[in-house]
């Protein structure tokens, strides 16, 4: 059931009405039933995978909780003596459930790619069978969320959930199960279990956020998608300027598609009185690629930081590497090498998380290499800035850093959208070697599937998004600003985007709706 379908809007309206009409004690049970109903509407067979992840991580959590409790019950020297035994047992439980779940994810998402790569590398002498399995909706999101819960239980961050149904709601909550955000148990579960009274404000804020999300998705992203698909589908037929235009439109499409989807997710949850984690914080204003990743898909970045980066940095091989580099190389470089190594691995993982192909592996390496090199050169940059007598908050420097980040992100998008890695390199080459700038105004741009008016709508609507984010970046809270405007303006803020949606989006005869991009991950 797509968020942009009339069916979903009807489903959400029915859930909201029944949720508040039911006795408060039953609210979470109803949400669980609604969540599984929503998930199964997208396919009944794949619910098995969701159940497997839910049950395996639930049992692991209970097991780890029991081991933690037994260890905590000991005192004095016995506690000290038994600590390594408990640690080993906990490591075994965690490893078991991680291998089972990531093994399943590997089989579903990465096996066919690995089999093809092995076959290609051995010249066809080793042929591994291809698996014909159904890819479950949102598996990378709910699996990461559940694995995070297990690691937190391992670390003793909180006590595990003892009720399997309450835990099942945490893994399957319908607004977020398809494309995140990747929530934390201690932040989301208490909200899901709490009894919620109806508040008109929750409903109003939720609808506003959903409308904003639909505006980004239906008015901007889906329209930009037509041009992007046309050019990338036949990339050898276009000049460099048209390819660059398509990449630019893809940047717009991807941001409005993913952040729009997350707005709908958070808006739907807000109608139920539940605050989901923020997943975007105006990435357009990022001043470095590392800063960009702190603002884009925030919950994935935080997951990688807490469960991969920290663990990796404090692992024995990296600690050994650190000792060696500080002793043998010394200086800033010696200090930064272990952190930079862990950073590089994390960005490689982020790339691979997106999908099984060489493009995403290269995308991970691309991000890892740039961010790692900026860590290694941080002190050089600092000294340059001191020599130039530029303050860190210098406006010109800020703009320079922003533009530099845009260029790096822009180049990265060639890699993620091109049909193959070599096609991405080809397109980059054509952009610089055969730009033919006149293609932008000689009518070629009007043969790419969208009309002149569509360009006006995409760029005009994007200007509204950028303006809104500019004010947010400067500290203006648009909702609070709206709150002070009075009833009429507040509802106009809902009805006006709705009107724009209807006129420029879904009511148009030639309107083409496309699926959310991140749903496939």
């Amino acid at each position: 059931m797509s968020f942009t379908s009339v069916g979903f809007i009807g489903f959400l309206a029915a859930v909201v009405v029944l949720y508040y009409a039911l006795p408060k004690k039953c609210q979470w049970v109803f949400l669980l039933a609604a969540s599984y109903g929503f998930y199964m509407a997208g396919g009944v067979k794949t619910v098995v995978y969701l159940l497997f992840t839910t049950l395996s991580t639930f049992v692991a959590g209970l097991w780890l909780g029991r081991l933690n409790a037994r260890k905590d019950a000991l005192t004095g020297p016995e506690k000290k003596a038994q600590a390594p035994v408990f640690k080993r047992k906990k490591q075994m439980v965690t490893a078991l459930v991680l291998i089972a779940n990531f093994g399943l994810l590997f089989a579903l998402k990465y096996w066919n790619f690995t089999a093809s790569a092995v076959s290609g590398a051995t010249g066809g002498s080793v042929i591994l069978p291809q698996l014909n399995l159904l890819m479950p909706l949102g598996i990378s999101f709910y699996m990461f969320q559940s694995v995070g819960y297990v690691v937190d239980c391992y670390r003793g961050k909180y006590k595990p959930q003892r009720n399997v149904f309450k835990y099942a709601l945490f893994t399957s909550f319908f607004p977020q199960v398809v494309q995140g955000p990747i929530s934390r148990y201690d932040q989301l579960s208490p909200q899901l279990m709490a009894e919620h009274s109806f508040h008109a404000d929750h409903l109003k804020y939720g609808i506003q956020l959903c409308m904003w999300g639909y505006f980004k998705k239906l008015v901007i992203a889906d329209r930009a998608a037509v041009l992007v698909n046309t050019v990338f589908g036949d990339y050898t037929s276009y000049s460099g300027s048209i390819i660059a235009l398509a990449v630019f439109f893809y940047c717009i499409q991807l941001y409005c598609d993913f952040s729009g989807g997350i707005d709908v997710t958070r808006g739907a949850a807000q109608m139920l009185g539940i605050d989901l984690a923020e997943n975007f914080r105006r990435p357009l204003f990022a001043t470095s690629l590392a800063d960009y990743w702190r603002r884009w898909h925030i919950t994935l970045g935080q997951w990688m930081r807490d469960y991969v980066f920290f663990s990796l940095t404090l692992s024995k091989p990296i600690l050994k590497l650190g000792k060696w580099s500080r002793k043998k190389i010394g200086g800033t470089l010696g200090k930064v090498i272990p952190t930079a190594t862990a950073t590089f691995v994390v960005y490689l993982f982020i790339g691979i998380w997106h999908g099984a192909n060489f493009r995403y592996i290269f995308y991970g390496l691309w991000n890892g290499a740039i961010i790692t090199s900026s860590q290694l050169l941080a002190n050089t940059y600092y000294r340059c800035r001191m020599k130039l007598k530029l303050a860190d908050d210098n406006r010109g420097l800020y703009v320079f850093r922003m533009v530099r980040t845009w260029i790096l992100v822009f180049l990265g998008r060639y890699i993620t959208r091109a049909p193959r890695l070599m096609a991405a390199f080809y397109m980059m080459w054509v952009t610089v070697s055969r730009p033919v700038l006149s293609d932008l105004w000689n009518g070629t741009a009007l043969t790419l599937g969208i009309a002149r008016m569509d360009y006006v709508i995409v760029l005009g609507a994007m200007a509204i998004v950028v303006a809104a984010e500019f004010f947010q970046e400067r500290g203006t809270e648009i909702r609070k600003w709206l709150e002070q405007r009075g009833f009429l303006v507040q509802w106009l803020a809902i009805l006006l985007p709705l009107l724009v949606l209807l006129v420029t989006g879904i009511l148009r005869g030639d309107y083409i709706s496309s699926e959310f991009i991140y749903k496939q991950f």
């Binding site: 920290f310 404090l314 500080r326 200090k335 600092y382």
Partner: protein, 75 residues
């Protein structure tokens, strides 16, 4: 101990006022990359072993909090 820690901190993150700041993490003055560099230095300099569980904002928000952490690990 304090002097040694201050030396590590100012070398790792020049330009941050460690003497007076009490919300180094919450205010975004220290990032995860800075923390792990500081952690590696602390482990080396004070011969203590930090775990991933210790990497929480409360332990790194101020110099005093870091000193407290080092002392508890040394015990």
């Amino acid at each position: 101990m304090r002097e040694k820690l201050m030396e590590i901190l100012t070398e790792t993150c020049p330009g941050v006022d460690f003497e007076t700041e009490t919300a180094l993490i919450d205010d975004g003055l220290l990032e995860s990359l800075d923390i792990v560099t500081i952690v590696a230095e602390i482990m080396d300099a004070f011969e203590v072993e930090l775990n991933v569980e210790d990497l929480v904002p409360e332990n790194f928000n101020s110099v005093d909090a870091m000193l407290e952490l080092i002392q508890s690990l040394a015990e």
